[in-house]
C-alpha cells in the first residue's frame, strides 16, 4: 500500500484497503470554521438530534473567514459558535489565524486522519497526514460520532525533479501542475508528491503544494515524511517506521517533471487551471495586490515579499494588502522587522485570517478592478464583483507587481530574491 492507503487502513481497523473500496474510518481531528459552522451546528442539533459531541478535545472550531465580524449577521454566527463551544467544551479559536495554518501549527500530526468543513483541508499532507474537506452534514455526523465513510482514493504520484530557477517557487510548481491536470484532473484521487524538488522544499512549501491539490479536484495530498518532518515532531511519540510507502505500492498514474526550465506562472481569470507563463501576462495593470492566505501567508512568504519590497514603495495607484496566516507568524514578522518593511512601503496589514482570499470581508473589489493574489482561487466574483479579475501567483510575483503597478516577473528584481 502507499502511505495514504496505509493511514486509511489503520483508521478503518483493517490490514489493508484497495482503491475504490468504501470503508468506515475513525477520525483524529474534526475542524470547522465560520463560513459553515452555523449550518454544522443546526444539522448537528436539529437534524441528527445530537446533544453532545463525540470528543470535545478532538473538535476544533475556528472563526477565521470573517474576523473581526464585518456585519450584524456575521457577529451572530460568531456568537452562536462561541456559545456552542462553551456548552460543549470545544476549543474555539478567534483572532489566531487561518484554520488550516492553526491546525498545522497546533494539532495535526503525521499519520493522522483529519476531516474539516473546508475544501483546503487537503493541506495537512505536508506533514504526512491524510486530510480532506467535507460538507456540513458529513461534519455534523463526525462531530456526533467520530466516524465517517470514505472511498479509498486512487493515487497519482507526481515526481518533481530538476533545480528551480531563482525567482521560481512552490506556488509556480503547483500552478503548472494544476494547468496540466486541469481543474478536475485529480477528482476523487490523492496526489502524492515525491522527487528531489519535493525533498528540497521546506514544510511550508509542501503546505502550499498540498493546499492547492483541491484546485485540481483532489481528495487529499501527501508528501511522505522525511527528516524535516521528523525534526518538527521530535518531541511527539510517532511511529515513523509505519509512515513509509510499501515497496509494492500501486499508483493509478505517475507523472514526472523536470522543473529546471520552469518560469513564474500565473493563473488567469476565472479558473485556477487557466495558467500562463508570466511573459504572457506581464504588463496587465493591477489595482490591488494581496499577500496572505493558507496557501502563501507564512513567514517564508512574508520574508520573500519583504526582501523584494525593502527600500521601495508600492506603486501609487495600487493597494497592497498583507495578512499573515497566523498570530505566531505575525509576531515573528513583527520581531524580525518584516511588518515594518511592509508599512514603510505603504502596505495595509490585516489581522490574521482568510482576509482578501475570499470576497466576503476585507479588500473586496468592485466592477472593472484587477487584483494579483498569493491565494488559491480566482473564481468569478471570488473577491467581490463578478466583473472583477483575479490573477494568482507566487508571493514574489505579487510583490514585484505591487511595486511596478502591473503584473511583473519577479526576476526583474533578481538581486532582491534571497
Amino acid at each position: 500500500m502507499n502511505l495514504t492507503e496505509k493511514i486509511i487502513a489503520k483508521h478503518a481497523n483493517r490490514d489493508n484497503v484497495k482503491p475504490g473500496e468504501i470503508v468506515e474510518v475513525s477520525i483524529d481531528w474534526c475542524m470547522a470554521n465560520d463560513a459553515t459552522i452555523s449550518l454544522n451546528i443546526d444539522i448537528f442539533k436539529n437534524e441528527f438530534g445530537f446533544t453532545n459531541v463525540w470528543d470535545s478535545e478532538k473538535i476544533i472550531f475556528i472563526n477565521d473567514h470573517q474576523i473581526p465580524a464585518d456585519s450584524v449577521n456575521t457577529a451572530a454566527v460568531h456568537q452562536k459558535t462561541r456559545e456552542f463551544c462553551k456548552n460543549q467544551g470545544i476549543q474555539c479559536h478567534e483572532s489566531d489565524g487561518v484554520c488550516h495554518q492553526l491546525m498545522f501549527e497546533k494539532y495535526v500530526k503525521p499519520g493522522e486522519l483529519v476531516v474539516a468543513a473546508d475544501s483546503h483541508t487537503c493541506s495537512y499532507g505536508c506533514v504526512g497526514a491524510v486530510s480532506t474537506g467535507m460538507g456540513s452534514t458529513d461534519i455534523a455526523a463526525v462531530m456526533g460520532t467520530g466516524k465517517t465513510w470514505l472511498k479509498v482514493p486512487e493515487t497519482i504520484k507526481i515526481d518533481l525533479n530538476g533545480i528551480l530557477q531563482k525567482g521560481v517557487f512552490a506556488k509556480d510548481v503547483i500552478l503548472k501542475i494544476i494547468k496540466d491536470l486541469s481543474a478536475s484532473g485529480a477528482t476523487y484521487k490523492t496526489v502524492e508528491f515525491s522527487g528531489e524538488v519535493t525533498s528540497r522544499f521546506s514544510i511550508s512549501e509542501r503546505f502550499t503544494m498540498c493546499n492547492m491539490v483541491i484546485e485540481a479536484g483532489g481528495k487529499s495530498a501527501m508528501v511522505a515524511p522525511d527528516e524535516k518532518v521528523v525534526s518538527m515532531f521530535q518531541n511527539k511519540n510517532i511511529d515513523w517506521d509505519f509512515l513509509t510507502t510499501d515497496s509494492n505500492a500501486a499508483y493509478s498514474q505517475t507523472i514526472t517533471y523536470n522543473l529546471s526550465d520552469l518560469t513564474p506562472q500565473v493563473a488567469c481569470p476565472h479558473f485556477v487551471d487557466n495558467v500562463k507563463d508570466i511573459k504572457k501576462v506581464e504588463g496587465i495593470k493591477i489595482d490591488q495586490a494581496f499577500l496572505g492566505s493558507c496557501t502563501n501567508g507564512r513567514f517564508d512568504d512574508l520574508t520573500i515579499g519583504a526582501n523584494l519590497l525593502k527600500g521601495k514603495k508600492v506603486a501609487s495607484d495600487v493597494r497592497l494588502l498583507v495578512t499573515p496566516a497566523s498570530v505566531d507568524i505575525y509576531r515573528e514578522a513583527l520581531n524580525q522587522g518584516i511588518i515594518n518593511i511592509f508599512l514603510e512601503a505603504g502596505a495595509m496589514i490585516n489581522h490574521p485570517g482568510c482576509s482578501t482570499c475570499w470576497g466576503a470581508c476585507q479588500g473586496v473589489l468592485t466592477k472593472g478592478q484587477t487584483m494579483i493574489s498569493s491565494a488559491n482561487r480566482n473564481f468569478k466574483g471570488r473577491a467581490g464583483s463578478p466583473e472583477s479579475d483575479i490573477y494568482l501567483a507566487s508571493p514574489a510575483t505579487v510583490i514585484a507587481s505591487a511595486i511596478v503597478g502591473k503584473i511583473t516577473d519577479p526576476r526583474k528584481f533578481l538581486e532582491d530574491i534571497k
Binding site: A35, Q66, G381, R382
Partner: protein
C-alpha cells in the same frame, strides 16, 4: 421514480462561489440565501427556476469550496436532480447527503436550455427531444443513503 422538468443549461467548472457567492453565507437562513443562487451566472435564477426544473452542466459541476449551503440553496429552490458530465467530489457527497440525485451523462452536450427533460430512475434512462439516454445508476451504498432521504435518516436507521 419519474422526474420531469425544464432544463437550465450551464457550462464547465461551475464552482460553489457561483452557486452561492461567499458574501451570502452568513445570511440567517437557507431560504434567504437561496434568493442569490447562481447569481453571478444567471441573474434572477431564483425567480426563473421553478421547483422540479433540472440543472444540466458540463464537467466538474460544484468545484471549489466545501460549503453545503451551495446544494442546500438549490434544494430549497426545488432542485431534485442535476445532470452533468461529471461532478466535483465534495459537492457530489454533499448532494447525496441532502438527497439531491446526481446523474453523470457524457452526452450532456445534446441538452439545451429550455429542453423538457424526463428522468426514470428505475430504468436509469433520460428522455429528451424523443431521444433516450441511459445513465449508470449510483452504487448501492450511495443509493441506500439517498433512498433513506440523506445521511441524517441513513444514520438514524443505523442506530
Amino acid at each position: 421514480m419519474i422526474f420531469t422538468g425544464k432544463g437550465f443549461r450551464f457550462g464547465d467548472n461551475v464552482d460553489t462561489d457561483q452557486i452561492l457567492p461567499s458574501q451570502y453565507l452568513v445570511l440567517p437562513s437557507i431560504k434567504e440565501m437561496s434568493k442569490h443562487a447562481m447569481e453571478p451566472l444567471l441573474k434572477d435564477f431564483s425567480d426563473k427556476f421553478k421547483s422540479g426544473d433540472i440543472l444540466v452542466a458540463d464537467h466538474n459541476f460544484g468545484c471549489g469550496s466545501s460549503r453545503e449551503q451551495a446544494p442546500a440553496v438549490l434544494k430549497e429552490l426545488g432542485v431534485q436532480v442535476i445532470i452533468a458530465k461529471d461532478f466535483a467530489r465534495i459537492f457530489f457527497r454533499n448532494c447525496i447527503n441532502i438527497g439531491i440525485l446526481l446523474i453523470e451523462l457524457k452526452e450532456a452536450d445534446d441538452f439545451q436550455d429550455g429542453d423538457v427533460i424526463s428522468i426514470d430512475t428505475v430504468k436509469s434512462i433520460i428522455i429528451n427531444k424523443n431521444k433516450t439516454y441511459t445513465f449508470t445508476p449510483l452504487s448501492n451504498f450511495l443509493k441506500n443513503i439517498i433512498s433513506k432521504g440523506g445521511l441524517v435518516n441513513y444514520f438514524s436507521a443505523k442506530k
